[in-house]
């Protein structure tokens, strides 16, 4: 509920804010002050404790020194020697009887000395005073027993007395004994042994043992008045135990280690600790008895005070501070309420007006005020603002209408632009594809042209070889023709010769025929001759057989000749044909040579052309590649164009919508 009010009411918020602010400032400054003040107060308390501790220590030290000096003076006084003389006399009396007159004077002197000792005892806080002769450790005089009787000591005391006596005789200086409970109350007493110098010479006349009552120490350290009753002071021994002097409270929950540390470095130590269920500020300082006086023991002075007591003042201050703070916070709240009153009234009327303006109603009127402060300025400015807003809104409305009309046209134009840009992109894409194809074709053409160029160069070579071979072939054919002519001539001659042979053979055959006939006639004649013709008949028969053989031979030769003639005729014919063929071949060869020449020329020309084509196609390829690159660039640019046009269209559409919404928004205004 309070939160709701805070959210809705400026008055509440201001009141609470003022209160919270003041409270926070107070709390913050209070806390800081508290922290620093507490620290300072604690420091102050510690400082006070330190001062108290130093004071006590000085007091104790001077007390001990004073007493020691007093005892030394006492040891050098005549009274001691009187007592010693008395004692020596008494001893002599016990051994040897006689000289009564002198004894009385000794007794008188001793009695006077005793009286003086007793009278000084209360001033010197002496509990007892013992005097020992150098030859025996038992005391010859005790202040408590007086001169009437011989002093009696219990066993523990006589032992310590004996050891002190021996040490003094050995060391020839004042020696302190360990504190021991002496007398009633459990309060310890301190024994100091002083050497008694002889009147003449360096030797010792005896030992003076002063038993010091520690009640005086108690008085010293119990005397305070700096911080009231809250300071406790006490002495503790090396092990942290209460020595019986001062307040026992001071030794409660004391750490023996701390004591050892303090004794070790001889410096005072402070601590904040818990003792008896409450926090205490404690200061521990060494007395330095061992160092200063050569005592076989040492005491540590503990001074402590309750923290609560030390902080009591500052706590009271804090409570007063808090009360004042609450009052101030309440005042601040009230002030806030009053301040907000003067703001909230005009603000409410302004808020109503602004709400009207927010609804679009600019026809409201806020009267100017004559307040001179910021609120007055706000109201006047709001008045001016509404007026100028009215004017501006009027202008805006007109502008919005114009804008809406223009936007419609722009939108249409942008749409057309996008469409045409898309078409352009498509066309460029096709061109790009085509260009790529052209590039590939050009590449192919270039490769082909290179191949053709190579082929053409090979072809040139081949045609050169062909020309050479053709020339060789023509020359060969010409030689063949010569040989053929020669052969034909020979064959013709052979044919004629065979003709002649035929004639000869015919003649031979005729001759054979006639011989045959002749042989027949001879045979007839032989037959006619009868027995006488028998030999002739044989001759005729032989003739006839010769004729027959000749005839057969001629027949054979004729056959062979016929064959030869046939073959020769065939050869002649073949030669004729061969000659014709060779002539034809020669003609053809010459024609082929001419053709080869022309072919070679053509091939050379075509090789040149192929080279040129290759070069041209290479250049063409380079050009086409550049073209493709250019078209690619155009393509990309067109794509960007298209994208831009699309974005433009979209933007224009957005603008149109915006202008429409502007128009709608403007329509809400009532001017």
């Amino acid at each position: 509920m309070i939160l709701g009010r805070l959210q809705k009411s400026l008055t509440w918020r201001m009141a609470v804010s003022f209160g919270v602010l003041v409270t926070a400032a107070l709390v913050l400054s209070g806390a800081v002050n508290w922290i620093y003040a507490e620290r300072d107060v604690r420091e102050e308390a510690f400082r006070t404790l330190s001062v108290v501790s130093d004071f006590h220590r000085d007091r104790l030290e001077s007390y001990f020194a004073e007493r020691l000096r007093a005892f030394r003076m006492l040891a050098e006084s005549r009274d001691v020697h009187d007592i010693l003389g008395w004692a020596a006399r008494r001893a002599a009396l016990e051994n040897v009887e006689g000289e009564e007159a002198n004894w009385n004077s000794y007794v008188l002197l001793a009695t006077k000395a005793h009286e003086r000792f007793v009278s000084k005892a209360s001033n010197l806080d002496l509990a007892d005073l013992l005097i020992l002769a150098p030859d025996h450790p038992s005391p010859v005089y005790s202040m408590r027993s007086g001169v009437k009787s011989v002093p009696e000591l219990n066993e523990g005391t006589s032992k310590s007395v004996e050891s002190l006596w021996a040490e003094v005789l050995r060391e020839r200086r004042a020696v302190w004994g360990r504190p021991a409970p002496h007398g009633s109350g459990g309060r310890p007493s301190l024994i100091v042994a002083i050497p008694i110098k002889a009147v003449k010479g360096e030797g010792l006349a005896g030992v003076l043992l002063a038993v010091l009552n520690t009640g005086a120490l108690d008085d010293i350290i119990s005397r305070d008045g700096y911080l009231g009753e809250t300071v406790d002071a006490g002495l503790v021994d090396e092990k942290g135990r209460f020595s019986g002097i001062g307040d026992e409270e001071a030794s409660r929950a004391l750490d023996p280690k701390l004591v050892a540390e303090v004794l070790g470095d001889g410096k005072q130590v402070r601590e904040l600790t818990e003792a008896g269920g409450r926090p205490v500020l404690r200061m521990v300082a060494p007395l330095g008895l061992a160092k200063t006086f050569g005592a076989p023991f040492d005491w540590v002075l503990v001074v402590q005070t309750d923290e609560a007591a030390a902080m009591a003042r500052i706590r009271a201050l804090g409570i007063r501070f808090a009360g004042l703070g609450i009052l101030m916070a309440m005042g601040a709240c009230v002030l806030g309420v009053f301040l907000s009153r003067s703001l909230v009234g005009p603000l409410r009327s302004l808020e109503a007006a602004v709400r009207e303006v927010g609804r679009g109603n600019l026809n409201i009127s806020i009267e100017a005020t004559d307040r001179q402060d910021e609120v007055g300025g706000l109201i006047n400015s709001f008045h001016l603002m509404v007026q100028s807003l009215r004017d501006q809104t009027h202008e805006i409305l007109e502008g919005v209408n114009t804008l809406a009309a223009s936007m419609s046209e722009i939108s249409a134009t942008a749409a057309q632009l996008a469409a045409s840009s898309t078409e352009t992109a498509t066309a460029v894409s096709q061109i790009s594809t085509t260009a790529e194809e052209v590039r590939q074709t050009a590449q192919l053409a270039q490769q082909r042209a290179d191949d053709v160029s190579k082929d053409a160069s090979r072809m040139t070579q081949t045609s050169e070889e062909g020309r050479y071979v053709t020339r060789e072939a023509i020359q060969g054919l010409q030689r063949i023709r010569k040989e053929m002519d020669f052969v034909a001539e020979n064959v013709m001659r052979l044919s004629e010769q065979s003709q002649n042979i035929g004639d000869i053979i015919e003649t031979v055959r005729d001759l054979a025929d006639q011989i045959n006939l002749l042989s027949v006639n001879a045979a007839i004649e032989a037959a006619k001759a009868g027995e006488q013709g028998k030999g002739f008949a044989v001759v005729a028969h032989e003739m006839r057989s010769l004729a027959d053989q000749s005839k057969e031979a001629t027949e054979q030769i004729k056959q062979i000749l016929t064959e030869v003639q046939k073959v020769t005729g065939g050869a002649v014919m073949a030669m004729e044909r061969g000659a014709k063929a060779v002539t034809a071949g020669l003609e053809l060869g010459e024609k082929a040579g001419g053709a080869m020449e022309r072919l070679a020329a053509t091939v050379e020309a075509s090789a040149d052309s192929a080279l040129q084509i290759a070069a041209s196609s290479h250049e063409q390829l380079v050009g086409v590649e550049q073209l493709v690159q250019a078209i690619q660039n155009i393509h990309e640019a067109t794509g960007q164009n298209t994208e831009g046009a699309r974005q433009l269209e979209m933007s224009v559409r957005d603008l149109e919508r915006l202008s429409q919404s502007l128009k709608n928004a403007a329509a809400r205004f009532r001017v």
Binding site: D513, Q514, N516, L517, S519, V520, N521, A523, I524, A526, A527, K528, A537, A540, H541, R544
Partner: protein, 177 residues
């Protein structure tokens, strides 16, 4: 029986071993064998004066058909006859006359145109076989018979007689050899 057969076989073997030449040498006479119109003829060497080679006999008008013409042999005029026609054998004579046999029987001289002359042969004229019918329908008188080796033996005188009978009154038959 066996012995008889063996005797005949032995006889034949002997005959074969003897050969024909010896028979010819010892028996028969010298014949001039020639061919005409595909047939072989033989005539006794005694009737033959010589064999001449002529181009063509000179034909004469008015002479019998079997006479081809006349021939001048070393100044002697000799008539030349066609053997086929002379013998009455069917079939034409040779186209051209090459050889002419000059037969001389007594004082009659006759040329006989033949196709070729084989030469002299010794033939057994005593054991002649009848001429085959292939020569003529009726064996002419001039053909004496068929000798060995299919040689038709011509009789000189018969031949001249045949000529004279065919040529009436020109020649008288001579003496038989």
């Amino acid at each position: 029986m066996e012995n008889a057969k063996l005797a005949v076989l032995k006889e034949r073997a002997k005959a074969l071993a003897k050969g024909g030449n010896k028979v010819r040498d010892e028996e028969g006479e010298e014949f001039l064998v020639f061919s005409a119109g595909g047939e072989r003829f033989g005539v006794k060497a005694g009737f033959v004066r010589e064999v001449v080679r002529v181009e063509e006999p000179t034909p004469l008008p008015g002479i019998p058909p079997h006479v081809l013409g006349i021939l001048n042999v070393r100044g002697e005029i000799v008539p030349v006859a066609d053997l086929h026609r002379l013998l009455g054998i069917e079939g034409g004579r040779s186209e051209s006359v090459d050889r002419v046999l000059i037969l001389e029987i007594g004082n009659v001289v006759l040329g006989l145109a033949v196709d070729g002359v084989d030469g002299m042969r010794r033939l057994d004229a005593q054991h002649l076989q009848p001429a085959p019918s292939s020569v003529a329908a009726s064996t002419p008188a001039a053909v004496l018979g068929l000798a060995a080796n299919r040689v038709l033996i011509l009789g000189g005188r018969e031949l001249l007689n045949g000529l004279s009978s065919a040529d009436s009154g020109s020649m008288q038959a001579g003496r038989n050899s």
